[in-house]
Subunit: 352 residues, 2 copies
Amino acid sequence: MSLASEICQSPATAADVARVAGVSTATVSRFMNSPDLLARDTRQSVLGAIKQLNYRPNLAARNLAGGSTDCLGLILPELGGPFFSELLAGVEETTREAGYHLLVAGTEPHEAFPLVFPSLDRQFVDGTIVFPHTLWPGMIENLAGHPVVLVEASHRSLPTVAFDASVGVREAIRHLVCDHGCRSIACFAGPVGAEASRWREEAYAHELKSLGLEADPDLLIRGEWSECAGMQMFEQLLAQGRCFDAIFSVNDEMAIGAIRAMERAGLRAPDDVRVCGFDDIPLARWMRPALTTVAAPPRTLGRTAAEILLARIAGRSMPSAVRIPTFLITRETCGCREELDNERKTHYETTI
Amino acid sequence: MSLASEICQSPATAADVARVAGVSTATVSRFMNSPDLLARDTRQSVLGAIKQLNYRPNLAARNLAGGSTDCLGLILPELGGPFFSELLAGVEETTREAGYHLLVAGTEPHEAFPLVFPSLDRQFVDGTIVFPHTLWPGMIENLAGHPVVLVEASHRSLPTVAFDASVGVREAIRHLVCDHGCRSIACFAGPVGAEASRWREEAYAHELKSLGLEADPDLLIRGEWSECAGMQMFEQLLAQGRCFDAIFSVNDEMAIGAIRAMERAGLRAPDDVRVCGFDDIPLARWMRPALTTVAAPPRTLGRTAAEILLARIAGRSMPSAVRIPTFLITRETCGCREELDNERKTHYETTI
DNA sequence: ATGAAAGCGCTAACAT
DNA sequence: ATGTTAGCGCTTTCAT
């Protein structure tokens, strides 16, 4: 049958298709890009030849000639860990479904951002999704004319996707205060300059105030997002002799570290201190005591970021600032009994 | 200063550089690919022009012309989850350090492999790392002439990186049998066709035999790697009325599912059934009871795979089959008391 | 509705 | 040691 395809080692080119179909390469190109311009018969014979030769256009050539790369870039502080990996997976899904490829790069631990970003410019990709753990000043200048969407960061002129921390945090604080009677809630925050953390801190302070409780600045402590940091933060608070009956942590890892440090100190959550995290990483559900936390679905975040970028590239208009809702999941560390079958399901949870 | 670079909208081309440096494009190309061939002075002036124009070669053009793309491809069943994300991070680190870019793609849940792979062929990348959850027959034909390394799979003619399950599993089985007196150990295996699972099963059966215990085929049960599957597998074994005093699971997720199912049934690990997993995902350490498991560091796997691929591309010779060691970490589910400070540290563990 | 031909930016012989 | 030149496979005017 397909003699040519069996003999040829190298993939068929548009020229091959053109020859077999008895048309010109321009017609083949038209078939690929705007079939409507072709006559019925022509379309048929080109299609036949394509199938026969198992033709697939060379992306590099297409790119070189036409200008688009069919590649998206994704820049994340790091690629491992429960949060970023899910975000990445969300971006990749959407990207692949749209027929694009995905180039990824991490910037930690070497602060490789200035290094990594320029190489992802329009020569390589049609657009880039950037998660700037802290917004690097001057960063924006590098982005000139290149479609970009920012994740968990805000900027006056760049499209943005971020969690709407306020709803989930409000639920959390109200739950701690109203349902469990907490009066002084410590806040475990991220490093200075981390916008995602700032939003969550603000929501915490705002809700406290709206309940008639002031956020105590001595009870706000900062760290580097990790379990390790969480442990140190708790120990520091202890060493300072601070009094508090609950902790709200802006991510789950620090909350887990805090709980670990409590255990070391002979304390227990929720009996001695109630704890609420943020993110709902899988661990939150499986650890003991199970972590109460504000769920912020990273896969959705990634998917949305990719959708916005794709829309932007295609010239479709899209809201330039999308917020992904968050919500409280009560488990054990807030003092609720874990009610397995009643808890709200998140994207993580397998259907049991 | 760099007038040209400020005026030009579109990125500088090799021709621009050539003009500014007063050389030909061939010389620019040589500078990029084999600078040693150039005279000292020429090199200097080309370098100057490149910096001045902020020149960076166009990937597509370079690719089309038959050169290298400086891109590597990575194909994974999925990108999220504790295992693959760490593997990915390892690949990306190595890739970036070598000055390459990384294109990633997932193949689940739509079995997108046949779709995704061809588009990552030499049209786009200099080589590809493939993790074939189950080795797709005929897959190899697509790879003709394209540098590939397989992860957790074996093939007669393709370079391969995989865990050496045997050592870790031997430790695990011996520990269960000799230290804890287990006599009938169930095996929670992956789906048929998953090589990684088969290796672990074989190590399990082999070690049982060498201890004078036969592996009971009724106690071998298969599932889809997930917590969910682990639960069902345990329930099925229970429903069948099987007797066993321990479970060896070929990954941690299924082990966790089994433990969850035990809790549902009013049973407890390790009191009723001792459990050992495989992988050592972060959860293993933080869950309660803490999971005893065979540690298999995915980041190392990824890094090694990338190193081999890079070596292959560079024409350097490398062993064509590398095995990454695994080892037992005893925690609570095997019946050992958790000894926090004595346990062997894995790559995951933060320095506390 | 289709063909002819000129690039896109680079590499790789082949010359010199 | 460096320049010349011919493509790589495609898209895209411009003709017809």
